[in-house]
Symmetry: C2
Subunit: 138 residues, 2 copies
Amino acid sequence: MSDLLERLRGRGWRMTAQRRVVAEVLNGEHVHLTADEVHSRAVAKLPEISRATVYNTLGELVSLGEVLEVTTDKRAKRYDPNAHRPHHHLVCARCGAIRDVHPTGNPLADLPDAERFGFTVSDVEVTYRGLCPDCASA
Amino acid sequence: MSDLLERLRGRGWRMTAQRRVVAEVLNGEHVHLTADEVHSRAVAKLPEISRATVYNTLGELVSLGEVLEVTTDKRAKRYDPNAHRPHHHLVCARCGAIRDVHPTGNPLADLPDAERFGFTVSDVEVTYRGLCPDCASA
DNA sequence: CGTTTGACTTAGACAAAGTCCATTGTAGGA
DNA sequence: TCCTACAATGGACTTTGTCTAAGTCAAACG
Ligand SMILES: [Mn+2]
Ligand SMILES: [Mn+2]
Ligand SMILES: [Zn+2]
Ligand SMILES: [Zn+2]
């Protein structure tokens, strides 16, 4: 993702080996790694990178809107580089596998005014749960 | 909720002061307390109740299907006594207030087969986010 | 009722996920 | 090349939750 790195440099980011490695690890489709998984993979490329730096960098990428935080399970937060096209998630209840999905329809329209309690509603997250092919056949 | 206590007794639960207090605390509409909040309120009624017992009791209530676990934010799990009528949640992004909502429509039907990746989809959670009236005016 | 017993509760150790801070290092401009 | 503000580091600390060994008590039984 030199796209990403280019954009970040443009935003005044100081480019360091650590930040480059974190950005490299967060690359691909259906990628939803925990901070610890990002750290392990980053260590493979740059052994001296610290946990704190991984957390810092992930936090910065999130506030820049380049990465999304996803909390599909109650354990660690997951980091999603697919922040450009809005999407939702399909999660295997047994093994935790996560896929990006794009449902049709607009759930925002499905919430009547009477059910909004005066809130200004700006966003909807939809999480589908079920069993992945592997777990269903086992 | 003597309803609940009655049902639990019917299921062979030994009725203790601790369990009664936890069940009392989990009572009402739009109630979504964390385990620690349940513990604080339980301590007010029964000072010697322990954290472990609160966690144990909440876990049992969840496996009995009497209480739902809700993870609207990435912090602590919340416990929802409104397990009888299915519903979704509306969350204030600033102060964390949570309301139960009942959207129209069926999000399951909005996920095309091509977007299911072979999963057996059994459940959908929808979380609406926005600002509550208080936070919007501030 | 009093006894008995296994289910229940407790305190505290432990673990996982994440935050914070003082110190040390360095990217990138002058 | 030098300087310095920004970034990285390790480790202490916090929060949330789990586990266990030992003590307690609800309720079944007589
Ligand atoms: Mn995603
Ligand atoms: Mn609810
Ligand atoms: Zn699976
Ligand atoms: Zn609010």
